[in-house]
C-alpha cells in the first residue's frame, strides 16, 4: 500500500492501465453513506486484488454544505486512504464528467456509486448522476450500490446563512433597480439593444460579486424590468412584437449563461488560490523539515508551522512510556475538559481524524489528527483554532492531513536515521575495542615476555652466567618495565581523555619550564639525539594543564626518537603567531609517508604496522590534549628532509606579565 495519507493533488498522474490488473473507482459524496460504500468497494477490490481509487468531485456547491457534511467528505477520503485506496479529490462543475475523465485517465474498469445519492445529484442536465455515468461510460462498468436505508441520507443542505443570502438578493434587486434608473436617463439617447447591454453588464457585475442564486435572480429580474419598462408596450409585460420577444429571450439566456460562467470562474479562481495555499504550505513544511538535527527540533518546527498555517494553537502528542500521550512540542494545553484527552487517545488508537468539525467525537474544542507512519499511529496532532468556535473547513482539513502525513514521515525518517546512526556508532566502538585489545595485548606481551624470559634466565643460570650477562639481563628487565609503565600510562591517559573524565587543571605556565621538564624526564633516551632549543626569552605565559602539555611534548619527542636514526638532531622552537603560541618539533629522520600526515594522529596508527613499539596511542593523545586546549596539531615533511610536528596554543587574556612580577615583599632575614 503506498502513501497512506490521502493525496492532495487535484488530479493525479495518469498511470497506464496494466492488462489484467483491475482498477476500481468509488465515487464519494458528502454523506455518511460514503463509508459503507467505501467498505463495499474495499471488499470487492480485495477479492479481485485490484487497485482502487476513491474520488470526490468538489463542486462550487461544496462550500454551501453544512460543516458536518464537509467533515464526512474528509473522513471518507481519509478512511479510504487508510483502507488502501488512492484517495483523490478533484474540482469541477459536472460531477459525472469529472468522474469519467478521471476514470479514463487512470484506466479504471469499474465505477461504484451509491444509489440514494442519485437523488441528490439528480439535476444534471435533467438526468441523474447514475444515468449520466451509464450513458457515457463506454467500456467502463458502472455498479450502483444501495445504501443502508433512507435514514442515512442527510436532509437537503440548507442554504448557507439565510440572512446573508437575503442581503445578497436585496443587493441584486438594488443593482437591477439602479440599472433601470440609469435606463430611464439614457432611454432618449440609446437604442433598445444598447439598453439591453447595460442590463447584461449589470448581471455580469452582480454575478461576479454575489452568490449564484442572487445572480440568477438578477438575470430574471433584469429581463422582467427591461420588458416592463423599456419594451413596448411600456409599463406592461405585454410585448408588442415577436422581435422584442426574441430579444428578451436571448437576453434571458445570455444573462443566465453569463451568471453561470462567472460563478464557475470564481470557483476556479478560489480553487486555484486554495491549491496555491496548500502547495505553499506543503513546500514550506518540507523545506523546514529537511534541515533538522533532532526529533525535538523537528516536532517544534512542525508545530510552529502548523500553528502559523492554520492560525491555531498546535501541539504534537506522542506516547511516552506506556500508553499515555504526552505533549512533546507546541502549545502546552492544560485541559479542564477530560474529553480532550479521551478524543486524542481515540484518534491515536484508531488512526482516525477526530474532534471539532470532523464529524467524529466533535464535542471537543480541538481537532485530533493521528500521525501515521508505517501504517500505525506514532503520535497525534492537536489543533485548536485561536478564534473560539471556529472549525476548519474541509479544504483546510485536507491540508492538515497532508501536512500531518509529511510530519509523520519526517518523524519516522528521523527515528530510522537515529537508529542507523546508533548502530554505526556501536559498530565503530566495537571495531575500536577489538583493535585496542589486539594492539594492547601485543604491546603488553612483548615487554612481559622479555621480563619473564630475562628473569627466568637469571634464576636458572645463577651459577653459570657471568656477571656481564647477568647485568645485561637485569638491565633489559628494568627497561622493559619502564616501557610497560609508559604504555599503561598512555592507555590510562587515553581512556581518561576519551571518556571525558579528564579534569583539566589549567594555570598560567612558562612554556620553557614545560619543555624543560619533559626533556628532563626523557634524559636517558635522549642520549643519542642532540636537542637544540630555540625559544624567545619573552614568550608570554600560556594557560594550560602543564602535566598534559608535558605529555604532548614527551610523546612527540618519544615518537621522534623511535622513528629517527641515532645521532640525528632534534630541534624544538616556539614563536607567537596570530594570537597563538606555535611550538614546533623537527627531526632529521625519514619523514612521514606522503598523504599519511593526518592519519598518524589516528588511534593505533603505526607507520609500518607491527614493526614499531608502542600502541600507536601517543600521537592520538597529543591531538586530544591539544584540541582540548583549543589548539591544533599538525604533522608535515620538511623540505630538506625529516618530519615537522607543530601545535598551537591560543594565547589567553590576562596573562601575568614576565616583566611585571609580584611586587617583591620586604626582605626578611
Amino acid at each position: 500500500m503506498p502513501d497512506p495519507g490521502p493525496g492532495v493533488a487535484q488530479s493525479i498522474q495518469p498511470e497506464p492501465a496494466t492488462s489484467g490488473g483491475e482498477r476500481l473507482l468509488v465515487c464519494l459524496d458528502p454523506s455518511p453513506f460514503s463509508m459503507p460504500l467505501i467498505r463495499a468497494t474495499k471488499r470487492i477490490a480485495d477479492s479481485q486484488q485490484a487497485k482502487w481509487y476513491a474520488l470526490y468531485v468538489e463542486t462550487p456547491a461544496h462550500d454551501r454544505l453544512p460543516l458536518e457534511n464537509q467533515g464526512h467528505v474528509a473522513q471518507a477520503l481519509y478512511q479510504a486512504a487508510k483502507l488502501g485506496a488512492q484517495a483523490v479529490k478533484v474540482s469541477g462543475f459536472r460531477i459525472g464528467d469529472e468522474i469519467l475523465v478521471f476514470a479514463r485517465e487512470n484506466g479504471v474498469s469499474k465505477i461504484f456509486v451509491g444509489k440514494p445519492y442519485a437523488r441528490r445529484w439528480r439535476r444534471f442536465l435533467g438526468t441523474s448522476l447514475v444515468d449520466h455515468l451509464i450513458w457515457n461510460c463506454g467500456p467502463i462498468d458502472v455498479f450502483v450500490i444501495s445504501g443502508e436505508g433512507e435514514a442515512a441520507a442527510p436532509a437537503a443542505a440548507p442554504g448557507p446563512k439565510p440572512r446573508r443570502l437575503l442581503k445578497e438578493y436585496l443587493l441584486a434587486a438594488a443593482g437591477v433597480s439602479l440599472c433601470t434608473g440609469l435606463g430611464f436617463i439614457l432611454f432618449p439617447y440609446l437604442a433598445l439593444t444598447n439598453l439591453a447591454m447595460i442590463y447584461l453588464l449589470t448581471v455580469v457585475i452582480i454575478s461576479s460579486f454575489l452568490a449564484r442564486g442572487p445572480a440568477i435572480f438578477s438575470s430574471f429580474f433584469s429581463v422582467a424590468a427591461f420588458a416592463f419598462f423599456f419594451v413596448p408596450e411600456y409599463f406592461s409585460f405585454a410585448i408588442a412584437s415577436t422581435e422584442y420577444a426574441i430579444t428578451l429571450l436571448v437576453m434571458l439566456l445570455v444573462s443566465l449563461m453569463v451568471s453561470g460562467l462567472t460563478a464557475r470562474v470564481r470557483h476556479q479562481a478560489r480553487a486555484a488560490r486554495e491549491q496555491e495555499r496548500q502547495t505553499a504550505a506543503l513546500f514550506e513544511m518540507s523545506q523546514n523539515l529537511t534541515a533538522i538535527n533532532s526529533l525535538e527540533e523537528l516536532l517544534q518546527v512542525a508545530a510552529e508551522q502548523l500553528a502559523r498555517t492554520f492560525d491555531s494553537r498546535v501541539a504534537i502528542l506522542m506516547p511516552e512510556t506506556g500508553e499515555k500521550l504526552e505533549i512533546r512540542a507546541g502549545y502546552p494545553f492544560a485541559d479542564e475538559d477530560v474529553r480532550e484527552g479521551m478524543v486524542a487517545r481515540w484518534a491515536f488508537k484508531h488512526g482516525l481524524l477526530a474532534g471539532a468539525g470532523t464529524g467524529t467525537l466533535s464535542a471537543v474544542k480541538s481537532i485530533y489528527l493521528p500521525l501515521i507512519a508505517s501504517q500505525h499511529a506514532i503520535g497525534v496532532l492537536r489543533l485548536e483554532s485561536s478564534q473560539p468556535g471556529r472549525v476548519l473547513d474541509a479544504e483546510s482539513l485536507r491540508l492538515l492531513e497532508a501536512l500531518g502525513s509529511q510530519v509523520a514521515l519526517a518523524v519516522e525518517h528521523e527515528n530510522l536515521s537515529r537508529q542507523t546512526q546508533g548502530a554505526q556508532l556501536q559498530m565503530e566502538a566495537e571495531r575500536m575495542r577489538n583493535t585496542l585489545l589486539s594492539s594492547v595485548s601485543h604491546d603488553l606481551r612483548t615487554p612481559l615476555t622479555v621480563i619473564a624470559g630475562s628473569a627466568s634466565t637469571l634464576l636458572e643460570g645463577e651459577e653459570t652466567l657471568d656477571s656481564f650477562t647477568k647485568h645485561e639481563l637485569a638491565q633489559s628487565i628494568f627497561e622493559e618495565a619502564r616501557r610497560l609503565d609508559r604504555l599503561v600510562h598512555n592507555l590510562l591517559e587515553m581512556s581518561r581523555l576519551q571518556s571525558g573524565e579528564a579534569m583539566f587543571h589549567k594555570e598560567w605556565y612558562v612554556l620553557e619550564e614545560v619543555i624543560g621538564s619533559a626533556l628532563g624526564q626523557l634524559d636517558p633516551q635522549l642520549h643519542d639525539h642532540p636537542v637544540s632549543i630555540n625559544l624567545p626569552t619573552d614568550l608570554p605565559l600560556v594557560r594550560i594543564d602543564a602535566l598534559l602539555l608535558e605529555r604532548v611534548v614527551i610523546n612527540l619527542l618519544e615518537n621522534s626518537i623511535k622513528y629517527t636514526p641515532p645521532g640525528t638532531p632534534l630541534e624544538i622552537s616556539a614563536r607567537v603567531e596570530d594570537q597563538e603560541l606555535l611550538v614546533a618539533l623537527a627531526d632529521r629522520g625519514p619523514g612521514l609517508p606522503k598523504g599519511e600526515e593526518e592519519r598518524i594522529f589516528e588511534k593505533f596508527y603505526q607507520v609500518s604496522p607491527g614493526s614499531a613499539r608502542g600502541a600507536g596511542l601517543g600521537l592520538t593523545i597529543c591531538r586530544s590534549i591539544i584540541e582540548a586546549h583549543g589548539g591544533r596539531i599538525r604533522a608535515a615533511n620538511r623540505e630538506d628532509g625529516g618530519a615537522l610536528f607543530s601545535f598551537t596554543i591560543p594565547l589567553g587574556e590576562g596573562a601575568p606579565r614576565l616583566d611585571k612580577p609580584l611586587p617583591e615583599t620586604a626582605e626578611k632575614n
Binding site: 609503565d485 594555570e507 619543555i515 636537542v531 632549543i533 605565559l541 609580584l662 617583591e664 626582605e667
Partner: protein, 229 residues
C-alpha cells in the same frame, strides 16, 4: 647503629623487593601491612624514615600522615602511582617530606632516603658552614653573595630568598605552596604563576642551559627540587 626504616605497604611483592634491596644496603626494616599497624609500629619502634604507600586497605595515606604528624617529626616518603599529582601535593602539604612515583628504581629510593636521613642529622648545621656549591655556582650564605664561576651574580632579594629556601631543602621536593608561603608569605600561596616567573629568572641566572636545568628541577604538577650532589 643501622637506620630503622618503617615500610607501610600492603602488597607483599613490593615489600619483598624493598626488603631485599634495603637490607642489603644496611638498613633495618620493619614492615606493616595496614595504616593502623604502621602507626602502632611508628610509635613503638621510633623509625628514622617512614616509607608510606598511598593505597592502603584500611585508611587513606593522608590520614596516616596527619596522625603521625600529631606526635612525630619522622621523615615520611610517600610511594604513589603516576597521575596522582593532586594526592602527592596534598600529602606533601599535610607533612610528608618527599614522594616516589611507582614504578621506581632502587637508586631513586636510596637517594630520597639519604636526603631524608640527612635532615635528621641537624639540618641547620649545613647552613652554618656558609657555602653551597651547585656545579660552578657558589652560594655564600654569610655574605649573601652568589658566584657563577668567577663572576658575581646579582639576585633580587626575592630570588635570593627563593634560592635559600630551596637550598635548605636541597634534594627534597618543595611544593609550590610551601615555596610561596616561605618566600612571599601566607597570603601569596595561590600565586603559582609568579613563582614560575621567578624560577625562570633564577634558572636564567644560574643554569648553563635554562631550558634543560641541571639543578633547579621541576617536579611536574608538584613543585621544585634542588638537585643534591
Amino acid at each position: 647503629m643501622n637506620p630503622v626504616i618503617l615500610l607501610i605497604e600492603d602488597d607483599p611483592q613490593i615489600r619483598s623487593f624493598l626488603r631485599a634491596s634495603l637490607v642489603t644496603q644496611g638498613y633495618d626494616l620493619i614492615e606493616a601491612g595496614t595504616g593502623r599497624e604502621g602507626l602502632a609500629l611508628a610509635a613503638s619502634r621510633v623509625p628514622d624514615v617512614v616509607l608510606l604507600d598511598l593505597g592502603l586497605p584500611d585508611m587513606e595515606g593522608i590520614e596516616v600522615i596527619k596522625q603521625l604528624r600529631g606526635w612525630s617529626g619522622v621523615p615520611v616518603i610517600v610511594l604513589s602511582a603516576r597521575g596522582q599529582e593532586r594526592d602527592k601535593v596534598a600529602n606533601l602539604d599535610a607533612g610528608a617530606d618527599d614522594y616516589l612515583t611507582k614504578p621506581f628504581g632502587v637508586g631513586e629510593l636510596l637517594a630520597r632516603m639519604r636526603v631524608a636521613l640527612r635532615k635528621v642529622v641537624p639540618a641547620e648545621e649545613g647552613r652554618q658552614e656558609g657555602q653551597y656549591y651547585l656545579g660552578n655556582v657558589k652560594v655564600d650564605v654569610e655574605r649573601r653573595q652568589v658566584w657563577r664561576g668567577q663572576e658575581e651574580v646579582h639576585l633580587t632579594p626575592i630570588e635570593y630568598k627563593l634560592l635559600t629556601v630551596l637550598l635548605k631543602n636541597r634534594g627534597k621536593v618543595v611544593t609550590h605552596r610551601q615555596l610561596l608561603k616561605e618566600v612571599w608569605g601566607p597570603s601569596y600561596i595561590e600565586q603559582n604563576p609568579y613563582l614560575r616567573i621567578f624560577i625562570l629568572n633564577l634558572r636564567r641566572k644560574l643554569e648553563d642551559d635554562p631550558t634543560r636545568p641541571q639543578y633547579l628541577l621541576t617536579e611536574p604538577g608538584v613543585g621544585y627540587r634542588l638537585r643534591d650532589e
